[in-house]
């Protein structure tokens, strides 16, 4: 059984997908959303298997939603769009599934067959997310699922990112969030201009660095403006110095 989510701001467009998806015995419609934010929240908390995602929507576009997902854990994405020349070229180049409006049942079934194939051989899921990120550029905001909806954090407000097994702790001035992501992926999404790695499992916002004091063996003690102390390991020291202009 595949759990599918439909995202489109126009009711007739949702109705069409609902009708055809609903007649498939191996598909359960897990949700329908008319705007980007509620769709993003559902995708992040409910983890559906496949999302039919309209690109043009109020609040958040389908591409912006996709850019926020963790590539390897992302549901299968089928972009549904009326007209989006730039994105289409990138979709074709990277074998990303999409449906062009209007589409007939035959094209819908072809797209669904590709989804089924991918569903049973779950590799290369991340490419849709990566293509979406290439289309939208670096995310200025990070979406964090909370109990009452999505919390949107400005990437400038993030002080440090600290990996912990399969999770990353995201520290802002006054709060801490736990995300099931890899540090590498998070840095890729947020862009490496603002953040610098100081340890295999820790990155900090360059603007938040306050002071450095040498320790033994080439390591340093790094103090953030908030007063928090972290260790800068020798391996990452030269990179940090070259980027902070020591």
């Amino acid at each position: 059984m595949m759990r599918a989510v439909i995202v489109d701001d126009e009711e007739p467009a949702r109705a069409k997908l609902r009708r055809w998806l609903g007649s498939e015995p191996d598909i359960e419609i897990a949700g329908e959303f008319a705007d980007g934010l509620s769709a993003a929240h559902s995708i992040m908390t409910d983890s559906p298997d496949v999302v039919f995602l309209d690109i043009q929507m109020p609040g958040l576009s389908g591409l912006q939603i996709a850019a926020q997902l963790e590539p390897e854990a992302s549901p299968l994405l089928v972009f549904v769009t009326a007209y989006d020349a730039h994105a289409l070229a990138a979709f074709d180049l990277n074998a990303i599934d999409y449906l062009l409006k209007p589409y007939d049942e035959e094209r819908f079934r072809r797209a669904l067959d590709r989804v089924r194939t991918r569903f049973h051989a779950p590799d290369k899921r991340g490419s849709a997310v990566r293509v979406a990120r290439a289309q939208t550029g670096i995310s200025d905001r990070l979406f964090v699922p909370a109990t009452d909806g999505l919390r949107l954090i400005d990437s400038a407000d993030i002080h440090s990112l600290e990996a912990d097994d399969n999770y990353v702790h995201v520290y802002t001035g006054d709060r801490e969030y736990l995300l099931r992501r890899t540090l590498r992926d998070l840095l890729q999404q947020l862009g490496e201009q603002r953040f610098v790695r100081i340890h295999k499992s820790v990155a900090v916002n360059i603007a938040e660095i306050d002071a450095l004091a040498p320790l033994f063996k080439g390591d340093y003690e790094l103090r953030l403006r908030s007063g928090k102390l972290l260790r800068l390991s020798r391996r990452y020291a030269s990179d940090l110095f070259s980027r902070t202009g020591r």
């Binding site: 126009e10 069409k16 009326a82 409006k101 209007p102 589409y103």
Partner: protein
Amino acid sequence: MFYCLWLGLVYGTLSLLRSREQSVQLGLVQKALVESQLAQLQAQLRPHFLFNTLNTVSSLMQIDIGRADRVLTRLGDLLRASLGAGDTNTVPLREELRLLRLYAEIMQERFSGRVLMDWQIPEDALMVRVPAMLVQPLLENAFKYGVEQTTGIESIRVIARRDPAQLNIKIQNTGSTLPLGWREGIGIANCRERLRVLYGGAASLGIANDAQGGVVASISLPLRGVPE
């Protein structure tokens, strides 16, 4: 004799080259013309509107053939009108309103239940001539910003009023305000340029936030000296 022949050959070749050059140039001019016409056509057809409407029809026809047919007919009328509209001709407001309603009805079908339309058009305004397709982009903007980028139920009001000296048209939408530092886009600039060409300084067009937390576009046209 041979010399003449030779000369003739050279001149012949030269003029052949020249005419080829000319025809290349002519071709370039024609190409540019066709390209600009194409660009114009593309802008008029507004691909997002066109494809999303077709998708609406594709969905509706599975459940309600009559409704699907109505949307399709309205789309056809609208396309025909936008292909026929020149830059300078004017039409009675009645005719312009017909197109505005076609467009609004299609959008109401697409955003089912999310748009309330309110038309306040007095009888004495209907025959006043207005530039064809002038109000259309303003109504499109009202939908684009007031409806397409919101999730609630919004309303759009089209108001006409005839004064002794001028015709005033207002398009009001809820659901959006002009962002800080907002500047007019090319669409509005084009509308204004058309007004300047047609009426000199006697007509005006303005976009502003209104008191109800929405946006209002106001056009005013002189009643005298209106071009046919």
